[in-house]
Symmetry: C2
Subunit: 347 residues, 2 copies
DNA sequence: TATCAACACGAAAACGATGTAGCTCAACGC
DNA sequence: GCGTTGAGCTACATCGTTTTCGTGTTGATA
C-alpha cells in the first residue's frame, strides 16, 4: 500500500522546500524551469494530488453542495439530483445527499450536520412535516450564517432565498382545461393537504380552470390526502381514500397532483369497472417512470426535474462564486412545464 | 449575518487561550469548573460548532462515504442509497453521491475527484462500460492507496474487496423453477450481455433450472440485450428487440433480469394479444415501483436494496473503524432474495 | 567597486481544531 | 526553607496547502 504523497514528502525527497514544490506544481514563475520539471516529473510519478481537505480549510470553500430532499426513492427527486449532479460536476463541485424522510427533525439534523463547514451551500426541498409545523428556524439560521440555500419544488414563501419552481397554478389550469376540452363534465382532483405548497397551488389552478369555464366547484370532488410520511408507507391508506372517493362521487375527469395518486386512482377505477379513457380521463403531475410504463400510459405534466436540478445548482453556484456583498437580490426561477399526451386522455 | 465563531474568537472574547476553550468544551479535567461553565455558556450563546473540515484535516478522517453508482434515476439504486444513508447517518457519516452514467470515464473521474481526501471509503456499483472494457486500474489503485472499497450488485471478481451481492444464480433458478412448476413449457429469458455480471449469473441460473428439469436449452429463447447506456435512453431499441423476439419465438413463460425488461415484455405481449398470465407468465428481477404498480402487478424477485445498502455501509464502516492492520480478510455478504407473488404468474 | 535588478528559492503564517508538554502559583510536608 | 505536588492554564506542534515576504546569489550597470 503506497500512501498518498504530500508536498512535504516530495520536498524532502527532492531536497527542496515545501513552498518550492507547491509553486512548481502551480507553474509559478518564481521557480526555475529545471526545478519545475523535476518536481512535476516526480509528482506525476507518485501520482500526487493535492489534499482536498487541506484546500478546503485554507480556502474556506469545500466545493461541495449539500442536497436535502424528503426521500430519494422517488423519480422526481432523482431526476432533480441528476440535474444538480451534472451541473455541479461540470463546475467542479461534489454533491452530498441528505434524506429528511419527510421528518422535521431529520431535516434539522441533516442541516446541522452539514452546516459546520462541510458544504458551501444547500439545495433543499422541504419536508412535509416542516411545512406542516411551520418551523423554519433552522433554515433562516443557516442563511443567517452566510450559507446560501436554494429551495426547489416545495418552497417556503416566508424565507428569502433563491427558488426553483414550476408554475403550479398555471400548469394545473392548463391540465384541467384540457380535461374540460376533452368533454369532461365532472372533474375531480386528488391533491394533498394545503400545507404542502405544491398541493395548494395545484388545487388553486384546478379551481381557476373550472371558474374560467363557469363550472361550479363541488367541494366533494376535491380530495386532499393527508400523507405526512413516505409515499410508499401508506399505500393502502391512499387506496382506501380514493376508493371511498369513487364511491361517493361520479367523475369523468380526474386531475392528480402526483403520479402515484394518478396511478392508484387508475387502479381503483379499473377495479370499479371503469374504462380509461372512455369513462374516465386522468392527468397526472410529474412525469416519472410510473406514468410512462403504466397501463394505459398516463397523460401527465412533465415538470422537467432534470432542468430544475440544473437550475437550482446554477443559482447556488452563481451565488457562491459571486459573493458581491450578497446584495444580489434573490431570484425565483420558474421552469416551464409540458403536458405529455399519452393514453389516459382522449384529446 | 453572524459568522460562525471559531475557538479563536471565543478565546479572545473570554480572554483565555484557544486550548482552554477547546478543553473546556470537551470537558477536560484540566480546566476549572468556573472557566468551563463560562466557556460553555458563551459557546452555546453563539451556537459554536467545531469546524468539520479542520477536524477532518487533523484526524485524517472525513466521516464521509463516497457512493458511486451508474444512475440514480433507478429504483433499485435509490433504495440502496437509502439503506446506505440510514446506516451511515446513524454512525455519524455523510454520503457523497457520484454518478457514472454507465460511463467508464465518468466513473474514473468521480473516483479521482473524491479520492483526494474528501472521503474515507467508497461504495460502488460498477458501470457497464467498465465491466465491458475490463479496465479496473482506477479501482485497484484506489484500494492500493488505502481507501477501502465495497462493491455491490455489479461486482468484479478480480478485485479483492468487500462485496454485497445477492445469490443471482440460485435466485434465478428458483424463479425459473416456479415458472416450470406453473406449467410453462417454453421458457425464455431476457438478459443482458454477459459482461454484466448479474446478467451472466442470472442466465446461468436460468439454464441450471431448465437442466434440472431435463428441459433442453434453446439458445433462441435466450435474448441478451446490449444496452451499454442508461436504461431510458434506448427504450425503443429495447422494445424492438423484444418485439422481434416474440415474432420468432413462442414462449409461455418469461424470466426477465430486471423490471424494465419485464414491463416492456408485458407491453409487447399485450400488443400481440397475449393474455398475462393465461398465455404468458412473467417473473422479473428487482422489486421496484414499476413492478408494484404495473398492470397486472408483476411477480418479481425482491433483492432487498435497502438491506444491501445497509450491509454495504456496515462493511465499509467496519473496515474504516477497525484498521486492524487491514489484515482482515475481505468479506462477501450475500443478501437473501424473495419472490414477491403478484399477478403475472399463476401459482 | 558599489549598487541594483532579476532570479530562484526558503521561512513562516494562516486556515481551525486537538493534544502534549510546559509553565506558574499556591499549598503542603518535613 | 526547600522540594514536591497538583490545579489551572498556556504555548506550540500538527494536519496539508497556499501565499506573502524575505534572502542570497547572480550579472549588469553606473
Amino acid at each position: 500500500m503506497k500512501q498518498k504523497p504530500t508536498l512535504k514528502v516530495i520536498a524532502k525527497e527532492l531536497d527542496v522546500s515545501v513552498s518550492t514544490v507547491s509553486k512548481a506544481l502551480r507553474d509559478s514563475k518564481e521557480i526555475g524551469e529545471e526545478t519545475k520539471q523535476k518536481v512535476k516529473a516526480f509528482a506525476k510519478l507518485y501520482n500526487y494530488r493535492p489534499n482536498n481537505i487541506a484546500l478546503s480549510l485554507k480556502n474556506k470553500k469545500t466545493k461541495t453542495l449539500g442536497v436535502i430532499i424528503p426521500e430519494i426513492v422517488h423519480h422526481f427527486f432523482t431526476t432533480v439530483i441528476s440535474g444538480i449532479e451534472q451541473f455541479a460536476n461540470e463546475k467542479g463541485y461534489n454533491v452530498i445527499v441528505g434524506l429528511s424522510n419527510e421528518s422535521f427533525k431529520k431535516e434539522v439534523i441533516n442541516l446541522e450536520m452539514l452546516a459546520n463547514g462541510s458544504i458551501d451551500g444547500f439545495i433543499i426541498s422541504v419536508a412535509k412535516e416542516t411545512l406542516s409545523v411551520k418551523d423554519y428556524y433552522h433554515l433562516s439560521e443557516t442563511i443567517d450564517q452566510g450559507i446560501p440555500i436554494v429551495m426547489f419544488d416545495r418552497v417556503i414563501d416566508e424565507i428569502d432565498c433563491d427558488k426553483v419552481i414550476v408554475d403550479d397554478v398555471k400548469t394545473s389550469e392548463k391540465a384541467v382545461q384540457k380535461l374540460i376540452d376533452s368533454g369532461c363534465k365532472h372533474i375531480g382532483i386528488i391533491s394533498t393537504k394545503d400545507y404542502v405548497s405544491v398541493g395548494r397551488l395545484r388545487t388553486e389552478g384546478y379551481s381557476n380552470a373550472l371558474k374560467a369555464s363557469k363550472i361550479a366547484i363541488d367541494e366533494n370532488l376535491i380530495l386532499k390526502i393527508d400523507d405526512k410520511f413516505n409515499s410508499n408507507d401508506n399505500l393502502e391508506f391512499l387506496e382506501e381514500q380514493i376508493h371511498d372517493y369513487f364511491e361517493t362521487n361520479e367523475v369523468d375527469g380526474l386531475f392528480a397532483v402526483n403520479e402515484l395518486y394518478a396511478i392508484t386512482a387508475m387502479k381503483v377505477a379499473r377495479q370499479k369497472g371503469l374504462h380509461i379513457p372512455k369513462d374516465l380521463q386522468i392527468i397526472g403531475f410529474t412525469d416519472g417512470v410510473l406514468s410512462k410504463h403504466a397501463y394505459p400510459p398516463l397523460t401527465t405534466i412533465s415538470q422537467h426535474g432534470f432542468e430544475m436540478g440544473e437550475e437550482a445548482a446554477k443559482l447556488l453556484i452563481d451565488r457562491l462564486e459571486n459573493p458581491n456583498e450578497e446584495e444580489e437580490p434573490f431570484r425565483t426561477t420558474v421552469v416551464k412545464t409540458e403536458i405529455i399526451d399519452r393514453e389516459t386522455t382522449k384529446l
